[in-house]
Amino acid sequence: MQVKTNILNLPTQEFVHPGTRACTGCGLSIAYRVGLKALGKDTILVVPPSCLTVLQGLFPVASTKLPCLNVTFASTAAAATGILATLKTQGKEHITVAAWAGDGGTSDIGLQALSGAAERGDNFIYFCYDNEGYMNTGVQRSGTTPIGAITANTPFKGKLQQKKDVPAIMAAHHLSYVAACSAAYPLDLYDKIKSCMNLPGTKYFHIHIPCPPGWGYDPRYGIKIGRLAVETGYYDLYEIVHGKFRLTAASEKLMEKRKLVPVRDYFRAQSRFRMLTDQKIEEIQRQIDAKWAGYYKKDE
């Protein structure tokens, strides 16, 4: 088991300049800052249009200290492949290629390119930061927007469909590494990145990203809400290493505690779920309980 990083031994070198263009309280700023620390200096980034494009700054000013290629919305993973191919011909394979895309850019328009790169086994790390909507264009629904969430184009009833399980889709590509993380647990993200960097082929990270304007809460509560998602058992932190599933960090602790915070607390902390009825919340609670009953059973 890898050494667990804590706030005292987290490297102090920063790759994101302070004062980015992200909103106050943006979960992405935390995940990106810590993620880049783990990736380190010898990294080339690939970014499609998203909140991250804005966070990175407007030409000619950049808020990151790593080289970055901005690419079209659907082409993130293929672009990572292109950089890798070049690094191979240049004998610079020690450089890490890391793609960072939103959930829309991953679960919807970028899924084909991602699946293609994963199937080819291209050796890079793909990060999907999941703020559960198309935030850059003003909070529309995406494939990973959860059931019940009000968005700009599910304005009254909330989204009627389930969230797309992208990590499961990626795990079905038989990757060496798939992880689910949260901006509310940045050190778990850090350790996971560090642990997978030498694994072969495509590595996939899914990061839950609390987003004040998109989710409807006071910016200061971002971490609290991110944690509630995990503590309620609604969003789980895990890793799948060479096909082997394991809960991590706070989710792993929940296994010991065997006690979940009611998911109602998570929903009621955000205005996007205001149309979710008590009845629907109970139904979701039952689904969560069943999922965790499965975890407990496997543990025994």
Binding site: K41, D42, T43, I44, V46, T53, V54, Q56, G57, L58, F59, P60, V61, A62, T64, K65, L66, P67, C68, L69, N70, V71, T72, A74, S75, A77, A78, A79, A80, T81, G82, I83, A85, T86, L87, K88, T89, Q90, K92, I95, Q112, A113, S115, G116, E119, R120
Partner: protein
């Protein structure tokens, strides 16, 4: 060395001679044999390159865009709907100023499905900021691929090398295979001004504002409009670069001449047929036949289509009685795109001089409709006797 190969293999041999580092492609008829040859060269070790069998054409160009941004010499090829599927990336590649070389093996676009030859695919990408060169035989294909890399890398502008599907891609012809040493002499290794690397971080293609903006050192940086204007201006200067490339090429390989136009019996002609690609060679047969009847005609192949060599074309056609443009594509709702471009060049350079020829437009061979030389000759003859029609006139149409 003279060899006999099909057009696709000819193009593949050109790419191999140019030592492309990264190749990405997705299959589509009639491009497939070209990329299959390349995968054979790479897998057998005859060519030192990375061959990426991507899952779509959008990704093929994504790989090329990223690989080129990281400093590789890249290649892709496509046809028809593959090119249309790339459109977003086509624009991105030129906006990002990447010297990508792409062969377009010309084919009709859907709907309805049709796998045969016309040129609607590359013509529909006319306004994307790429150079476009059309080839009429195998020697031109291989020589153009080699010149294309030199031009693209000099100008930091991508380039499409277009040749007709089947008519050229799947027919065999003899041609001179350039020596590797001579190609190496002509084409030095690719040295980009900037390539992505952690020692010199840069954020490429980031959001750029409508107006200019000061950078962290107090220097004024371009706005979007300046960047786009430079693309236009530098694209236009490739017209001079093309001459330079041609001279260099001729110096090393002993062949070449006019990089923009390929005239045949035009000097004393009253009427000149104009076209892109292989049809211009077929039109030579018509020219010979009509000349025997005493009609003074010639044919002019346009090789450089973008940037459009307007002054050269106007100069070559000034004083002619009539120009007859035969096109395998059109700008739907008006006329053939080449016809419009030609008219505007003639107007720009010859209006008021008394040397302005009339222009007529024929549409031929759409979706692979067979182009009979006898039909071409008849229509060509008729066009020299008076205006056939105001609208573009479709040859061989059975409506």
């Amino acid at each position: 060395m003279h060899i006999i190969e099909d057009g696709n293999t000819t193009a593949a041999l050109g790419v191999k001679l140019c030592r492309a580092n990264v190749i990405a492609a997705y299959p589509i008829t009639p491009q497939t044999p070209l990329t299959e040859r390349l995968s054979e060269y790479v897998e057998s070790g005859k060519m030192k390159a990375e061959y990426i069998p991507v899952e779509s054409e959008h990704s093929a160009l994504a790989v090329c865009i990223a690989a080129s941004s990281a400093g590789a010499r890249v290649f892709t090829a496509t046809s028809a709907n593959g090119l249309l599927y790339m459109h977003e990336q086509v624009q991105w590649a030129s906006g990002a100023r990447l010297p990508i070389v792409m062969c377009v093996v010309n084919r009709a676009v859907g709907a309805p499905w049709n796998v045969w030859n016309d040129q609607q695919d590359s013509i529909s990408q006319r306004d994307t900021g790429w150079m476009q060169i059309y080839c009429a035989d195998h020697q031109q294909i291989i020589d153009t691929v080699i010149k294309a890399y030199w031009l693209a890398e000099k100008a930091s502008i991508p380039i499409m090398v277009c040749y007709d599907g089947y008519i050229l891609s799947h027919t065999t012809m003899p041609f001179d295979l350039p020596d590797q040493e001579k190609v190496d002499e002509f084409l030095p290794p690719f040295q980009p001004d900037y390539a992505l690397n952690p020692d010199e971080p840069a954020n490429l293609n980031t959001v750029t504002l409508p107006d200019v903006r000061i950078d962290t050192k107090g220097q004024l940086a371009h706005g979007y409009m300046e960047i786009r204007c430079l693309l236009q201006e530098e694209l236009r200067t490739t017209l001079q670069l093309a001459s330079e490339a041609e001279k260099r090429f001729a110096g090393i390989f002993g062949r070449g001449g006019n990089p923009y136009l390929e005239p045949y019996r035009c000097d004393d002609a009253d009427y000149v047929a104009v076209g892109l690609g292989s049809i211009t060679y077929q039109l030579r047969v018509c020219v010979d036949a009509l000349r025997k009847e005493g009609i003074k005609v010639g044919v002019m192949g346009v090789r450089y289509y973008r940037p459009f060599p307007d002054a050269v074309i106007a100069d070559a056609l000034k004083g002619k009685k009539g120009i007859i443009v035969f096109e395998k594509a059109l700008s739907y709702g008006y006329e053939g795109a080449l016809t419009s471009d030609l008219k505007s060049a003639l107007y720009e350079h010859l209006a008021g001089t008394g040397a302005l020829p009339s222009v007529q437009n024929f549409i031929v061979g759409i979706g692979g409709r067979e182009i009979h030389t006898r039909d071409l000759t008849e229509n060509f003859r008729a066009a020299t006797q008076g205006r056939v029609s105001r609208e573009p006139s479709w040859i061989g149409l059975k409506l």
